[in-house]
Amino acid sequence: MTQLNLAVIIKLEPDFSEGSVSYNPDGTLNRAETKSTLGPHSAVAAKAAFYAKVRYGARIAVTTMGPPMGEMALQQAQQTCDAEELHLYSDRIFAGADTLATAEVLRAGIQKLEDKADIVFSGHRASDGETGQTGPQTAWKLGYTFFGNVIDYHVDVQTRTITIKRIVSLQGFYDVVEEVQAPLPVFIAIDPSYKATFNTVSERLAYEKYQKEAKIRADNYKQYLKVFNVQQLGVDQTLVGLPGSPTIVYKVERIPKGKANRKAEVLDGSNPEHIRKAVSKIKEALSAMVIK
């Protein structure tokens, strides 16, 4: 049986959990004070790859573009998915990249992995940028078939085909679960709702074994880590970082307060009469005829 090779693209992101996150008085994120961590969607992608390790004994590589600190996120992801190979693409020239220029670095990096990736995983989107574009853009550059919002997958290792379930949400319409089949290689962006289940005894035993191994590997993650700068990656310098970014951030402003749509009657929560009034109004509104 030919081995299954996986790559997971992850990102170091601001940690939005209480105690780590810091907001400015105006409600915006205080980036300087906020800690960094493995992005939550990246973590789901790593879990989804680990599923294939447990089920098919796949080999996993985790890759990221970012500052040297990015190795922290790689270590966290390794602990989740028991990766054999970690890649950090780090160079000052990569700074300021938009999604297209980021995708170029990731493409080059994934093509430098020891074994050609059969499936590349990414998270749904980053929690800070929130574009969700880097995954599909990297996929297109790699020439891999792209699937987004993936909630489940199975691989037929013999025939090198994958069967995928994905959610298609169309606002103002219903949601659809689509089941599709494609030959490898593919690139899948994992939906936040993805959950791996291990049903058989052998799967659960494998799960425990690989988890133990992951812990040991993550404790010695440097041994698995390769860092690449722009030369080592061999990318065209005009296609990465600022020079390779079609888009720029022109300005950032506070969203102006829209004009008041309603005129609120202000009630005092400690006045029983006001509470009574609020409830009466609510009851009145609820008993109105429904004409939709």
Binding site: G27, E130, Q171, V177, G269
Partner: protein
Amino acid sequence: MTEGKYRHVHVVMELEDGKLVPVSLEMLGEARRLFDDFNKKYQSNEKVIAVLLGHQVKDLANQLIEYGADAVICADHPELKEMRNTIYTKVICQIASDKDLATKIEPTYGAEFKRPRYMFFAADSIGRHLSSTVLTELESGLASDINKLEINDVTITHQSKTAGKPVTYEKTIEMYRPDFSGFLWTTILCLDNKNPAIERDYHPQSCSIIPGVFEAITPDESRTGIVLDFIPTIDQKDLAVKILSRKVIKSEVDFDSCKAIVSFGRGIKDSPDENIKLIEHFAKVLKAEIGVSLPISKKPFPVNQSLSNNYMIPDRVIGTSGRKVNPMVYVAVGISGAIQHIAGMKEAELVVAINPDENSQMKDESDLFIKGRMEDIIPLLIEELKKQEKTVEA
């Protein structure tokens, strides 16, 4: 830059089961408004072009003209019946680079035509990915989740784009996207590199547009436009994906059949567990469904696992990144009132806010603003609701 190289806006239509998804018409409406201004301002005659892919969908073309398109390019093919990213990307790119189509739309500039000036996609789970792959193939820039657009001449001094010298970029589309906090607007521009060292054109300037933000125009049957058939070149290797099944699912969170919705935001943070339980109780008494603001779905505080899994989830988000609701009663608990949230609930009949801060933006969006802490107010509301319930029964 010659005048004819980059022209028009291509608006990529989205269909589900052969029917137009609402955002398709919303995008056309915004493109129409922008181009009416554009053509006046620049004394030009550039077109709003709807790009329609599918099978047996040509009947929709007239509707698209009524909704603002000057031209509809229709790629009707059995292999395009279902949306598959690879083949859709290829066909959209073929259309975007086709000189014959451009000549039929505008004979004067057809020979020079290279790419559309702008491209619009929907920011949903189809358009988001499709825009990404299309713009990678066309090697140009893309901004996501846009809720405001303006076209202007802008003068830029940029280290990389202009080698630090001021350059005026004509007809630049300013693409505004709200950030995750809902308080900041970032304007993205897609600009050619004018720096001699790295000179490169980046067209089309493209974005994905948040559904529900823009309004479709009132359809006008007297509008005229041209409908062009496009016969796509289809490579068998781009058809490797097989769709095995498609099942419509209904979310377990049912905002539509409940008369009331109680939503909560970051204001629960002092004691999240207790407050969510309190809101749960309140919603039960009110027979309401529970919604949340976007930041809550990112699980910003540690909360009891089952409460977190039940409530702090994307499925419950109300707003532009979630669902649009129109209940009889909407109670906003500890919600600051970011515009994305407002966009999701502004159609509610009665809006009640519970908030200690009278300066909160939520006040301008409520009919009743109950000032105070939710911990104090909700128990009183529950008690009073039960009391009034009994009175009615008696």
